[in-house]
């Protein structure tokens, strides 16, 4: 008797297990066929950073060093310089003449994005950056800066008007 009950119990367990499998087989796939197919990334995925531009096409980064200060792995290196009337790079007084991130150290924590007062740095979706040569992992500003569209026209050009009373 005991033997028959045993067999039945086991069969029931197998059936229960298989039912889960069968139900799942009919559900939509959620795993990616990466690397055969493209990886599907969530909106808030934290990949290689993108340096943004404003509506005038100027760089948003004003070289304030706050991202570098916030970075726990100390992988952001900035050199700042002053905008001139002829050579305006960013919207503020200052811009980053050099902006490097060392991806052999970045832990993609997003602290830099959090720290940025001008929303100049964001995480992009690029992640395939593995390399046999770590020196290629130091990304320069040009590699991260969002390109200007070919047909770009500045949206607004703000002119500083001195206020009355002087």
């Amino acid at each position: 008797m005991a033997l028959i009950t045993n067999i039945l119990n086991n069969a029931a367990a197998v059936a229960k297990g298989m039912s889960v499998t069968l139900v799942e087989m009919l559900q939509p796939t959620i795993t990616d066929a990466y690397p055969e197919g493209p990886a599907k990334l969530e909106e808030r995925y934290r990949g290689v950073h993108v340096l943004q531009r404003d509506e005038n096409g100027l760089e948003k980064c004003v070289g304030c060093f706050l991202c570098a200060a916030a970075c726990p792995s100390n992988c952001i290196y900035i050199e700042a310089a002053e905008n001139t009337e002829e050579g305006r790079i960013s919207g503020g007084e200052r811009y980053a003449s050099v902006y490097n991130i060392d991806y052999s150290r970045c832990i993609f924590c997003g602290f830099c994005v959090e720290a940025c007062p001008t929303d100049a740095i964001t995480h992009g979706h690029k992640f395939e950056i593995a390399s046999y040569n770590t020196s290629t992992l130091v990304y320069r500003k040009e590699q991260m800066l969002t390109p200007l569209p070919a047909d770009f026209k500045p949206l607004v050009v703000k002119q500083e008007a001195p206020s009355a009373g002087h």
């Binding site: 004003v62 070289g63 304030c64 060093f65 706050l66 570098a68 200060a69 050199e79 700042a80 310089a81 002053e82 503020g92 007084e93 200052r94 007062p117 001008t118 500083e160 001195p162 206020s163 009373g165 002087h166």
Partner: protein, 702 residues
């Protein structure tokens, strides 16, 4: 620099936040609290300057007083009961900040002050997260007032610190206020630009980022720098300066921690004159003259070449002349004089002398406590300046005297060949041509007899017998007198102390085999070798000897190097470790802030030469620590307490007290006559100094 030093020694008892405190009467509540570790926020109040009561940040509650009181103007009173942190006070401070921020831009990310801004700190502590003002902010574009000073009116909180620092501290008064109400702003004396000392004191003292300096603007942020405490490398006053260094580049010079003898004082040279070290004309490789042209060669080749020449001249019994610069460290000077005397077996060793300290020491023999320190210049009841445009030539000593007048009502007397800034606040200023000083002094005798004490600062017009006459005249006043013999450069004093003179060994011991002085070397027609370390003796002078083999250790190819056969690239004082001694005999430590490719310190170059000549054992190791130990042990007056030096303080060298019986050649003593904006050989290569409109400045003009 407390304002309370002169108060009678009784105390007032009062209570702050339940703590029993006491302070001398007349002490301001804000100071008394600070000393007890209770911080009262303040923008306009600044210790050492006049009271303004403009910002209302320092409000405190005082019992029996109906309204909140400004702690910065309230002297402590017996039985006063004060509360410094209450709901009402916080509300008042929050309101004040809200007003300050009405027109203040949200510039923190780009503002140079961000990270060390007093307004940021205050808003963080007491401020509101948002403002109730919805009006558009008043905005005025930023202005450049000079190659040094920029002003952004939008960021200015009108605390008037800059105005007072310039007027009271510097005695310049180049800044004022224009307009009224919300449109008031700080304005420079020349309407749209400044004509001033370009000292940057205003920038330094500004609690916010309204005043910024050209050298530092937008380059970095405070937390990104290393801060290296060292000594200014220009004039002899020896101000301590804290250099902000990023990526092996000096970006800022200031002394915000108010440490050292100078507190936060720095003149334009100390604050901005560091760009000499990055001048692209710097020599970066040793050079040998080949077919009339200086060609870059390797270190070993140049060292070997010089050693060979030195050896052959030495064997042939030829003559050497060694000239040291006034910016070398004590260690380098000591090592060089040892090299010359023990290695080259000659005392033909000198530097460009700018003051007759030797005769002064001799004349003061037997008197104790007769040499003044920079502190004495601030504390003395009376001071007499003879033959020096102090504000131009010795900016820090002039600053000390101004502070002495403000805080201690000191009487200043000047006897100079032309009008000086000191005349504005001196008790008496007399203009006499050089040579007539003693007539003027005789007229002052009766007045000075009525003083309690006197510090005499004298320039290069008083030398030789006239120094003795001065000491004799001053002894006749019947009051304690201390002296400062003014000399030119950052280590002119050290060069004398270290025996870089033909007739004196280190510590003013008489050299039994005196050699040639600088003037004699240059006019000696058969001089075989002229070895110049960090100096430019051939500027405006010629070398009589045609056959002389000239070796220079230099930063730039100046006149002497143009005549040189071998040139070694030497490090600037910003790239050196060691010690220097200022005009008032205080030793301080020099710390290397940056490195420059190719250059070596003069100590190392001398050391390598010694090694090449096989003299290294005799002259010793060329490490600054080891040489300093020897100086400390063997040079009279340099047995200073080491902890003071190591912690970045200034240790007074005990003056030599005894006869210094040598023949002083007074024709060799001549000040270079630098102004605020020139700095001998160094200043020529500072782009900033040469770019200010006031350059090169003039003596006896302001």
């Amino acid at each position: 620099m407390s304002t309370s030093t002169a108060a009678p020694p009784t105390v007032v008892n009062f209570t702050v936040d339940g703590r029993q405190l006491s302070a001398p009467p007349g002490t301001l509540l804000i100071d008394a609290c600070k000393r007890a570790g209770i911080e009262i926020p303040a923008f306009c109040y600044y210790e050492g300057y006049s009271l303004q009561a403009a910002c209302r940040m320092c409000l405190v509650e005082v019992e029996k007083m109906p309204k909140l009181q400004t702690a910065c103007t309230l002297p402590v009173m017996e039985g006063m009961i004060v509360r410094s942190e209450t709901e009402q006070i916080h509300k008042a401070r929050k309101g004040t900040l809200e007003f300050l921020l009405t027109n203040h831009p949200l510039d923190c990310p780009v503002c140079d002050k961000g990270g060390e801004c007093e307004l940021q700190d205050m808003v963080f502590r007491y401020g509101a997260g948002e403002s109730r003002f919805t009006e558009i902010k008043n905005h005025e574009p930023e202005r450049q007032w000079s190659p040094v000073v920029f002003y952004d009116p939008a960021r200015c909180i009108l605390c008037y610190r800059c105005v007072r620092a310039c007027n009271e501290g510097m005695g310049v008064g180049a800044l004022g206020v224009t307009n009224r109400g919300v449109v008031s702003e700080i304005a420079p004396n020349m309407v749209d630009h400044l004509d001033c000392d370009e000292c940057g004191a205003c920038i330094d003292i500004c609690p916010v980022g309204a005043l910024t300096s050209n050298t530092y603007r937008y380059k970095t942020r405070p937390w990104e720098m290393q801060h290296v405490g060292t000594v200014c490398t220009h004039c002899s006053n020896g101000c301590k300066t804290t250099l902000g260094v990023r990526n092996d580049e000096i970006v800022r010079g200031n002394n915000r921690d108010r440490s050292g003898i100078n507190g936060e004082f720095l003149c334009v040279k100390g604050r901005y004159g560091f760009d000499v070290s990055t001048n692209e004309e710097r020599v970066t490789s040793p050079m040998i003259r080949i077919n009339g042209k200086l060609e870059a060669v390797s270190w070993s080749k140049a060292l070997g070449f010089v050693a060979e020449k030195f050896r052959s001249v030495s064997t042939a019994g030829g003559s050497f002349g060694v000239v040291a610069g006034p910016h070398l460290t004590n260690e380098e000077l000591f090592y060089l004089q040892k090299f010359t005397r023990a290695g080259l077996k000659t005392s033909n060793l000198d530097h460009a002398r700018s003051g007759d300290l030797v005769t002064l020491l001799d004349a003061l023999s037997g008197k104790t406590d007769a040499l003044a320190t920079s502190d004495d210049c601030y504390n003395t009841k009376a001071a007499l300046v003879i033959g020096s445009d102090l504000s131009q030539q010795h900016p820090f000593l002039a600053f000390q005297l101004r502070a002495d007048v403000r805080h201690h009502k000191a009487n200043i007397y000047t006897v100079t060949p032309g009008p000086v800034r000191e005349a504005k606040y001196s008790a008496q200023s007399i203009e006499v041509p050089v040579g007539g000083e003693f007539d003027a002094l005789r007229n002052l005798t009766e007045t000075l007899k009525g003083e309690q004490e006197l510090v005499i600062l004298f320039g290069d017009s008083i030398k030789g017998q006239r120094v003795r006459d001065l000491v004799e005249w001053a002894s006749g006043l019947g009051i304690p007198v201390k002296y400062v013999c003014l000399v030119d450069y950052s280590n002119s004093r050290g060069a004398m102390d270290m025996g870089v003179m033909p007739n004196l060994l280190p510590g003013y011991e008489v050299d039994p085999h005196p050699g040639m002085s600088l003037g004699q070397m240059l006019s000696h027609e058969t001089l075989d070798v002229l070895w110049v370390v960090g100096a430019n003796p051939l500027r405006g002078k010629t070398l009589a000897s045609k056959q002389a083999f000239v070796v220079t250790q230099t930063m730039f190819l100046e006149e002497t190097s143009e005549r040189a056969d071998v040139v070694f690239p030497s490090a600037s004082a910003y790239e050196k470790n060691g010690t220097v001694t200022n005009v008032t005999g205080q030793v301080q430590r020099l710390k290397a802030a940056v490195r420059t490719m190719g250059a070596k310190t003069d100590l190392e170059i001398c050391g390598l030469l010694a090694k090449e000549l096989g003299l290294a054992v005799e002259i010793g190791v060329w490490s600054h620590d080891v040489v300093f130990k020897e100086i400390h042990k063997s040079v009279r007056g340099y047995n200073v307490p080491l902890p003071i030096l190591i912690t970045g303080g200034a240790a007074a060298t005990n003056p030599v007290n005894g006869r210094v019986a040598v023949d002083v050649r007074i024709e060799d003593i001549q000040s270079a006559g630098d102004t605020l904006f020139t700095s001998g050989e160094l200043g020529r290569y500072s782009k900033l100094l040469t770019s200010v409109p006031e350059f090169p400045g003039a003596l006896y003009k302001r």
